[in-house]
Amino acid sequence: MVFTPEQVSRYSRHILMPQVGGPGQRRLLESKVLVIGAGGLGSPVVLYLGAAGVGTIGIVDFDVVDLSNLQRQLLHHTADVGRLKVDSAADTVAAMNPDVQIVKYAEPITSDNAMDLIGQYDVVVNGVDNFPARYLVNDACYFLNKPLVDGSIFLFEGQTTVYLAGKGCYRCLYPAPPPPGMVPSCAEAGVFGVLPGIIGSIQAVETIKLLLDLGDSLAGRLLLFDALAMEFRQVKIRRDPNCPLCGDNPTVTALIDYEAFCGVSIVP
């Protein structure tokens, strides 16, 4: 791939850095990242990956833009209310960087499509808002040996990490979801608008580091952020030898019924 003069200028601040350079920028342009959820977390992820010139970004989201999303979901604008989030996201990225191809999946992630979708990408970024989809994406990424950049938020707090096969997974960290009704959703409890900007931006950092094989990833570490206290905390994540997915004697060997596992509906 030969850079056009416009690309040399557009990506000059990356190309100048020895850690990225021309070869790294080329690698980004040839990379494929799947972002699951084009909402609070997905917005900064898609915006930064798009600006950085990640060549193909798949976006999975079946929802339409609601006025109440705009307090934090920077991919979408007032005129987009009522449109599919994948359409709105694609237009936003197209206006920012024509080098990026957005592949739109206006459907929920399910046990039927997860392996096929995830199998086509280099890295998966998780920004889903419910437990069944979190376990589903975790399991599918493990089976396909795809790095998963995970993030979640609630009120003023966020959590983010990277799962690499063999270094622990979501089930090692949280073997089972909370009983239904125990943890309210953001739609019920609210969420501080800037919070997904912080967590999603960290997810974008980790994604680009993985694509370029730079630095130390968050694999094996859970990063916790409390906006009110303005505190970051790190705790270790270990692969659990008893994990039903990635442990020594796995019992989960194919995708399961995640709604039944969580006792809730996957589509709220």
Partner: protein, 92 residues
Amino acid sequence: MVSVYIPTPFRRLTSQQPRVHVEASTLADLVSNLERLYPGFEGLLYDDRGEFLNHLNVYVNNRDVATLEGKGTLLREGDEVAFIPAIAGGVR
């Protein structure tokens, strides 16, 4: 006194305080004392067998108590205990 980090979903029990200080010599002790000070707290931590819930991790000085002595983990003056539940938000 042990410093206890209260995650946002639990703060309704602590009048929104993010951190409380409690006397305790073990983790099990700490949970009993938290329940006494903030009725209902234990129900956020234990399942019906009295074990920590599966969607909750407990850290003493940022070390997972599953790698220490679980509920029997000894606590010392100045230790920090953090309760970190799974959260799911992202999209909506």
